[in-house]
Amino acid sequence: MDAAGLKALTPLLLLALCAVGTMLLAGFRRNGRLAFYSYQGGLLLALLSLTWALPERSLEVTPLLRMDAFFGYFAVLFILSAMAIGLMAAGHFRRGGGRARVEESYVLLAICLLGALVLAGAQHFAALFIGLELMSVASFVLVAYPCGGRPVEDGVQGNSLEAGLKYLLLSSAASAFLLFGIGCIYLDTGSLAFAPLPPATTLSLPGLALLLIGVAFKLALVPFHFWSPDIYEGAPTPVAALVATLSKTALFAAVLRYVWYGALLELPGLATAVAVLAALSMLIGNLLALRQRHIKRLLAYSSIAHLGYLLVVLLAVGHAGLAIDAAAVYVLAYSVTTLGAFALVGCVCEAGAEADYRLEVFGGLLWRAPCLGASLILVLLSLAGIPLTLGFIGKFYIFAAGVEAGLWWLLGVLVVGSAIGLYYYLRIVLIMLGPAPEAGGIGGRRWLVYGLALLLVLLGVYPLPVLSWLPVL
């Protein structure tokens, strides 16, 4: 590794430093605010360093990582997401009443982000593995974070414990599938780099299938989606946001790169399998959300469907010039919208002494807190893909990629799924217009919500800055 490579790696190094530094800081002085500033400062530094460190032309740093525009785009997105999640976490854990110490959560978040950045640059299975597991193991802990303090008999700790254990066990099983798949490919080709398969292979196809299973689990695609609602429900809200955005989008970025480098979807069987998973996710995800009464579970099901939409793009890779653009835009839209949704959940559902995640809590929100209500409407419209929101631009790109690649049947399923989705998004809006619940307060980080909502609209109306900056692989 030469100096140029080292320079290109600066953001990652800074992040690692941030994690370690925050941990050490916490060891010397237990102070949530300090840890928070250290975390956000580190991230900001990493973000700024990107402008300087990112090589102008695609650069291979060790066989594992490739630093290019694709990495840059996703790195910025991930760091910004992580900063938003950090803001949410600061609010969330502070209200926890001091049972759990907040400082370590920043360390874990930084580690997660590090994993995500590794995934964004991964061009090698080892990098994929390292990034993925960095994220996974850190998020197991984050999911079960409320168990950190003294054990108390209450639902929050019980739920998060349950969620943590489920996530750990299931995710490890899925990792095993993934690794076994990689193992098969390695056995066949003798290389761990992202590259097209050699023509005559026996083991690679089953290997790819096993790999797909592992990936599908992490992306919570039907029928590997069972874990996600439970984890979303049990995990603290910022962590749920993390699981919903970073850990899915980062892996998706890596998979996208592999699919592109490996020209994988030329393999008919695999393409069919992905198409089946996409269709199932779009339909079943939306159906499961249909009459869900728990907002976090509903968001979980909705994100299952959204990942299904995203798979359409994956299928279009290689057939449609727009596919990578579409993926990038949609990931952005999905991240911003989902973060907004979870930030809102934090504001509305966790305002009272006891968190209440029933949809009824949103009753009369538009009248109680007009700005928050309007933001919620915007977020829901964005999730539903209605124009003038970023969600629409994302959906538009997906449709464009699908049309360009001629994936008519999947587009049909997409339309049906979207139609089902409209029902429950609108249902929340209708609840919001209805009567207010007896005890409903508003609290938390409103400015984060407003900021995200504003971003949704601004980029929805004038997405040109983003679109002109989309990465090319």
Binding site: L165, L170, F177, A209, L210, P223, F226, A273, L287, Y423
Partner: protein, 605 residues
Amino acid sequence: MGAWLAWIPLLPLLSSLTLLLLGRRLDERGAALFGVGSVALAALLSLVAILLFVVSDGTAWGGQALSWFSALGLEVGFSLYFDGLTAVMVGVITGVGLLIHLYSVAYMSGDDGFARFFAYLNLFVAMMLILVLAGDFLLLYLGWEGVGLCSFLLIGFWYRVPENGYAARKAFVVTRVGDVALALGLLILVQQFGTLLIQDSVGQAQLLWADSDWPFWVALLLLGGAVGKSAQLPLQTWLPDAMAGPTPVSALIHAATMVTAGVYLIARTQGIFLLAPDVLQLVQLVGGLTLFLAACSALVQQDLKRILAYSTISQIGYMFFALGAGAFSAAVFHLMTHAFFKALLFLAAGQVILSLHHEQDIRRMGGLLRPMPFSALCFAIGCAALAALPFTSGFYSKDAILLQAYAHGGAGIAWWLALAGAGVTALYSLRLFVRLFLGECHTAPTPDNRWPMRWPLALLCLLALFGALIPQPLSDVFVSVPAGEQHVSWAVHLAVLLMPWLGLALGLWLLLRGEDLRRRFAGGILARVWRTGWGFDALYNALLVQPLSLLARLNRRDLLDLPVGFLAWLSRTCHQGLSRLQNGRLRQYVAGIVWGALLVLAVVL
């Protein structure tokens, strides 16, 4: 021709609008002033127009007052046309209309809808005038539908009684069926000629359609419109029910003018009908059948106004018969005389009904000769004209019809029916008069000494007697039908002359001797069938009304909504089923992964 012709319909129209908007502010005197005054002015104008027309040698005037619209491929204007036929119609409408308006002032006095009544009546006169003055089929159609609307409004004038509303709706809907046929006929004209000017299209038809199927279809569709408006078979069922309206309305709309619009239409489009001899045959047959069936029905009705209604249907049947037989001017002649004597009968009947406190059942009448001599006189004259007794106006017109028809086509079924009908007509006229004025008195009348009502009646009596003397400038209107190869023998003349007398004789015989026969007949099945108008109402009810309303009832909630509901249900069910899988059990989830893995492997490999 000046645009001032347009003022003939415009005057009543304006008056109608005024009455509609300001009616509440006006007292009866003011409303009557507007209502009658406007029609009087229109009548005056019409008179001037007719005189000018006659003076100017009977050349037709046409002209476009204003453009209505000009679309891509069709131009329609508010164009007027005035020829002999128009002159007759305008004269009848404004003349008889004026008398009936005058009569109504007294008849409707005290009704809380006085102004509204005159507003509607004025509107009707306006629309009827538009209908006959129109030089464009679409304008004619405007009048055509407009009179239908007024008929609807006036039948339902006493809207608080639900039956009136139903009768009104029935009248409008049944005639609308005919209107649709008429509209379709117009569509063919638009398609073929690109114009709706009546004279142009008829002229072009004669030029271009010498041997094609078009005249057949157009004439058939126009006939459809005509039978609807004129209450001929098979759309005659609405007219008897239409008697629910005030009696002056029945006189004006449902006897003298609107119901003859069909006759006017066919006469006006003679050129097209002559190209379609089959349809002309059909017109004759329709007329013949209608006149006979309706006459039979009139024979057994118990309601005074229904008798007159069936009689109207029957008399219009004569006109249709005449049209079909090629005796166009005879038909128009009869149209005029019928307007006189039927208006007379209705108005006289109105007087009787008013005197008997709105009693209309003739079984509760009788012996009114002494208390109501003037009404009796009117009735006598009217019935005589209706029965076509010599030297009344009806005698001349009916004779003309029967003889000319024979001359043109000989004695077909229709002709025999028409001949027999003349006998039946005399028979029911006699019955009507006898039941009302002779015999013993059942209900004591209040005396009929309202003079405002009397002198219109007196004028109409004169017209019914001597109206046949009014010359009709029709010679230039109709193409003379090349016929007359049938020699009209003296036997035919005699038969036509004697037929009414035969009916009268039969009536007298039945009255004096046939007590038993009458009673048996009245209880018989034939009488019952006749009384219900040959069961057409029941037939339509069973064939159309019931199935349609059943369908409407069954499908009130829109069956096409069911698939949508089904989809919603399906989604909900799927949601419930899938949610049940999401049971929180760790090992179940692992099993899910395993099944998923098998699925993926199966698809990939």
